[in-house]
């Protein structure tokens, strides 16, 4: 009996492994496109830092602080890590110049802002070389299907199928603080379909759209800032 059971083991593992591979393939269904537009030469010294700020002056949406933090964290680690000043720390230290209603919108405004001695002093204190403005959001569209769940005395379960599409669109504008000019723009567009089949238990197959947009944008920004 034991020998038979042992013989059936590879076959018993085949099905779950196939399902797992299928799930992994389905989860990877995200497309990311990066576009870079360079306007000037770049480069950063080891004693210099950058700050990544989210645009929040629009009424319709605001760039999520979590996304800004994600890009910053990725730029601050790995090969060629860059010193990134946390957004809130920078905004608080330079209050009230980088609030949603007072933040400079164009690189020309940066020149006026840098004319303020207290601002220049704080920028030098942080060692800021580049200000990166992130603008964008992730939208969920094309929701389809439905899942029904029921609970009874004998137990419960769900049945159905749901799917939706996530579309992330972000733009990063890089301002050189030393020359008060815009040196480039990088845009990241990512989209992916997520699925939620439910047979007794809902199985979420989530497309990591925003996470992919974050990592792709961070890698590109790191190369851009370093002059690559």
């Amino acid at each position: 009996m034991n020998i038979k059971a042992q013989k059936s083991t590879p076959a018993a593992w085949l099905m779950p492994s196939a399902i797992l591979c299928l799930l992994m393939l389905l989860q990877a269904c995200t497309t990311t496109t990066i576009d870079e537009f360079r306007q000037g030469a770049t480069g950063i010294n080891s004693d210099e830092a950058i700050v990544i700020l989210g645009r929040r002056q629009g009424a319709a949406y605001e760039t999520r602080a979590e996304f800004v933090r994600c890009v910053g964290d990725r730029m601050a680690r790995g090969t060629g890590a860059i010193t990134v000043i946390p957004e809130q720390q920078f905004v608080d230290a330079l209050f009230p110049w980088f609030e949603p209603r007072t933040a400079p919108l164009r690189s020309d405004d940066l020149q006026q802002l840098m004319a303020q001695p207290l601002v220049t002093e704080k920028m030098a204190e942080f060692g800021i070389r580049y200000i990166i403005w992130l603008d964008g959001q992730t939208e969920t569209t094309s929701r389809m299907g439905s899942i029904s769940c029921a609970v009874g005395p004998g137990g419960g379960g769900c049945f159905g199928f749901g799917s939706w599409e996530d579309d992330s669109s972000f733009e990063a504008r890089i301002w050189d603080v030393s020359s008060h000019t815009s040196v480039g723009t990088i845009s990241a567009d990512a989209n992916g379909q997520s699925y939620m089949p439910a047979v007794f238990v809902p199985i979420p197959l989530i497309a990591r759209v925003e996470a992919n947009a974050c990592s792709s944008l961070a890698n590109q920004l790191k190369q851009f800032v370093q002059g690559g």
Partner: protein, 232 residues
């Protein structure tokens, strides 16, 4: 209980205690728990019907602006310290009370010393002359609006505030009187409460007020004229 059970039959008879009374006493803890549970259910039901009070709390950074060589008195009077906004439900019942008096005082106590060389908090505008200030600043809330996600269908809590700002001479004479608006919003977060959302949106609105007030003070026409005369 144990004492009663250990009594002899004679003692029980003498003390007027019988086996029934022991049974009743054994049931008391159960009844007590039952009553406690019922009271808790009633209290929770009543609490869910009652309006919730949000006392706004936040911290505000000191503005990085050069201080003007002026001595200003500030009076936190009615319409600011005692301001409570009442949010009504769709059925017209009181849903939230938003108290912002204390946090407004914290905000102005942080912002004004960065704007002026000397700031004195006055108990009454009449104390201004005795304190030797150049002007008296009196902020007041005119209107407060709250946007709740379930009503606006947006994934955000929003706060709008309209202020009336007055600047008078130490003798109470007119210098300037102007209106300022502030707006703040915070996106709804998973596992967060409505109270937290209201607080964060209010703090964002107050930061907006602080930034516009500190940068736009000298641009108010009447203030600008007064400053030109004063700082000549």
């Amino acid at each position: 209980m144990r004492m009663l059970v250990n009594l002899s039959k004679q003692e029980k008879r003498e003390s007027g205690v019988n086996i029934n009374s022991v049974t009743i006493k054994k049931a008391e803890p159960y009844r007590f728990c039952q009553r406690l549970l019922m009271s808790l259910v009633i209290m929770l039901t009543l609490a869910s019907c009652a309006a919730s009070t949000v006392t706004v709390r936040g911290s505000y950074p000191r503005p990085n602006i050069p201080a003007m060589p002026l001595s200003v008195g500030v009076y936190y009077g009615e319409g600011l310290t005692d301001f409570v906004y009442t949010e009504l439900s769709d059925a017209g019942k009181e849903e939230y009370f938003v108290e912002t008096g204390a946090t407004h005082k914290d905000l102005f106590n942080t912002v004004l010393p960065a704007m002026f060389q000397r700031v004195v908090v006055l108990n009454s505008p009449a104390d201004a002359a005795a304190q030797g200030v150049d002007a008296v600043f009196i902020p007041r809330i005119n209107e407060f609006q709250l946007g709740m996600p379930q009503k606006t269908r947006l994934d955000a809590y929003e706060v709008w505030v309209r202020y009336n700002m007055r600047l008078t001479g130490a003798d109470g004479s007119y210098i300037a009187d102007w209106v300022m608006t502030a707006y703040g919003k915070t996106t709804t977060a998973s596992f967060s409460t409505a109270e937290r959302g209201i607080n964060d949106a209010s703090v964002a609105a107050l930061r907006d007020l602080a930034s516009n007030f500190s940068l736009g003070f000298t641009s108010v026409p009447d203030v600008r004229d007064w400053l030109q005369q004063r700082l000549q």
